[in-house]
């Protein structure tokens, strides 16, 4: 167990996983206690309304409950985030049948689209896998700080303003760093032969 910045006692991730594995009803509660704020924050990057965020988070909790066991995630935090992203995407797609609302994540993906737009990747699953491998290779070539920035912006959809606040720099600096990353990615894909 450990204390949060608010003094709340929260369980370690492995202890929460154990609760899920034991089918303890406390598993959800402990997940909420530890991650509710984080999950809502990430969901808000991907969805427009608070109501959708709530729905998404509840879906995520349910998915956790249904998938553990048999699944035993290596990193609970990463796993819960990936579930959240999946459910947020589903909700977002449902929404966009009616109207298109650009969320922070969509804005960030549009930025990234520029970097890979000239590449040979298609929209099929094989290309997605290939692109994922290329992105992993690319991230592996970056310093840790830059990788984290990339993930925050493009995977978690964090706003440039929030990133600037977290890193105690101006938004201009963040824009510049992200732009540099995209240029690097474009060059990387070109060198690796992914560009037409």
């Amino acid at each position: 167990m450990k204390h949060t910045e608010h003094g709340t006692v929260v369980l370690e991730d492995e202890q929460i996983i154990e609760l899920f594995l034991k089918r303890s009803p406390d598993a959800i509660e402990e997940t909420q206690r530890k991650y509710a704020r984080y999950l809502f924050s990430v969901a808000k990057n991907m969805l427009e309304s608070a109501e959708d965020c709530e729905e998404c988070i509840n879906d995520t909790y349910l998915a956790l409950w249904q998938s553990i066991p048999p699944h035993h995630p290596h990193s609970f935090k990463v796993y819960v985030t990936s579930l959240l992203r999946r459910h947020a995407t589903n909700i977002y797609r449902k929404q966009t049948r009616q109207k298109r609302i650009p969320t922070e994540l969509i804005r960030s993906l549009s930025e990234l689209e520029y970097a890979v737009s000239d590449s040979t990747f298609g929209d099929d699953k094989g290309s997605q896998k290939q692109l994922a491998a290329a992105l992993n290779d690319f991230l592996g070539s970056l310093p840790k700080e830059e990788r984290a920035l990339f993930v925050c912006r493009y995977y978690l959809g964090q706003s440039v303003e929030d990133l600037a606040h977290t890193l105690h720099v101006s938004t201009h600096v963040i824009y510049r760093r992200l732009n540099k990353q995209r240029t690097k990615l474009k060059d990387f894909l070109s060198k690796e032969g992914y560009t037409l």
């Binding site: 993906l109 994922a132 925050c152 978690l156």
Partner: protein, 358 residues
């Protein structure tokens, strides 16, 4: 290439890289020690307290339990015709939400109002009327000080939608850091109704009429936000009504202690004391008829003695908040003194409380 392709590819990023990103992301959620963090907080908790308090206003103004005759008649000077809901008054103009800073020191949190807000914040600290609060006098690191600095309920609602992770955080630190031993704090904690089909429980807020719609407000289990779900038909609303208003007491874990009802021509007050998870709650359901339509409002007060989880007695409630009405020109001002905030008739109107005042 479509966004979805990139999105799906990102789903397959190395766990290690994602973990690094999450680590950085979480830093943005942590308030740093001794570092002033400017936060725009939406005080939905205070909003709910106000609405709940308003429900109980007639009760507080009289002896407990309320008698039919104790429910006061509306003051003729409140809500005059020139400011009826049909012609929205000018005070619907947006206010500026006051920014304030959170100071964290020695395990406690403090609110500090920046210079720009110092002269605009009004705090009814004494219950004798609004005072202009001078933030420069705030003993930053000496005492714990609570203020609820919002200027407009409508702005709060707007912010609530836009930035709704804040109430969770705000509620958390109020609950965890401000209460001292012996404090009694009225929590915006509504009927803790467990919804069996969901992994999370929900708290029922209030339902009210808004234009042609029936609205119900549900607070999520973890204070993240309140949801204003509007239903286009009475039938649709009725389903929720059944679940949250009629059958609420059948929810898992609720044990009714006592219920009593008071009724006037157009208003029914049903007060229920119940136990849930070892804590005692008082639920007040107000049902009123407005233009032939029925409106229900619910407030639930946990009898929670902060600092311990022991339930406390019935005598707590009147001490938790003090409300009174002061006539001021054509409007009545209501001061919620315990929480250091005067609630003006403008805010009441903005929140749709006018029905109570007419």
């Amino acid at each position: 290439m479509r966004n979805s392709t990139i999105h799906n590819a990102l789903d397959q990023l190395d766990e290690l890289y994602i973990a690094e990103g999450i680590e950085l992301y979480e830093q943005s959620l942590i308030p740093h020690r001794n570092k002033k963090i400017l936060v725009r907080v939406l005080l939905i908790s205070a909003l709910l307290i106000f609405s709940a308090a308003l429900l109980l206003m007639p009760w507080f103004l009289t002896d407990n339990p309320p008698a039919s005759s104790s429910i006061p008649s509306p003051s003729p000077s409140i809500g005059n015709s020139s400011n009826s809901p049909a012609s929205p008054p000018s005070y619907y103009d947006p206010y500026t939400l006051i920014d304030f800073e959170i100071l964290q020191y020695d395990g406690h949190y403090y609110l500090y109002f920046p210079e720009s807000a110092q002269k605009t914040l009004q705090v009814g600290s004494s219950g004798k009327g609004p005072d202009v609060f001078d933030a420069t006098t705030l003993p930053e690191f000496d005492e714990r000080t609570t203020f609820f600095p919002f200027e407009s309920v409508s702005k709060m609602v707007e912010m609530f939608t836009a930035d709704s992770q804040m109430p969770l955080w705000f509620a958390e630190y109020i609950l965890e850091h401000f209460p001292k031993s012996g404090d009694r704090v009225l929590l915006p904690d509504f009927a803790n109704i467990k919804v069996p089909s969901l992994p999370s429980s929900f708290r029922l807020g209030k339902a009210y009429l808004s234009g042609e719609y029936y609205c119900i407000q549900i607070l999520s289990d973890h204070f993240t936000n309140g949801l204003f779900n509007c239903f286009a038909s009475e039938e649709e609303y009725a389903d929720h009504y059944e679940e949250f208003y009629v059958n609420w007491s059948e929810a898992e874990g609720i044990r009714i202690l006592k219920t009593y009802t008071e009724q006037t021509d157009d208003l029914t007050l049903t007060i229920t004391d119940y136990l849930l998870d070892g804590l005692k709650y008082k639920r007040v359901q107000t049902t009123m008829v407005d233009n032939g339509k029925t409106m229900h409002m619910i407030a639930t007060f946990p009898f929670l003695h902060l600092g311990s989880t022991a339930p406390v007695g019935d005598d707590v409630l009147p001490e938790e908040i003090t409300l009174y009405i002061e006539e001021n020109g054509s409007y009545g001002n209501i001061y919620l003194t315990q929480f250091g905030k005067n609630l003006t008739s403008e805010e009441l109107w903005a929140f749709g409380i006018e029905n109570f005042l007419e």
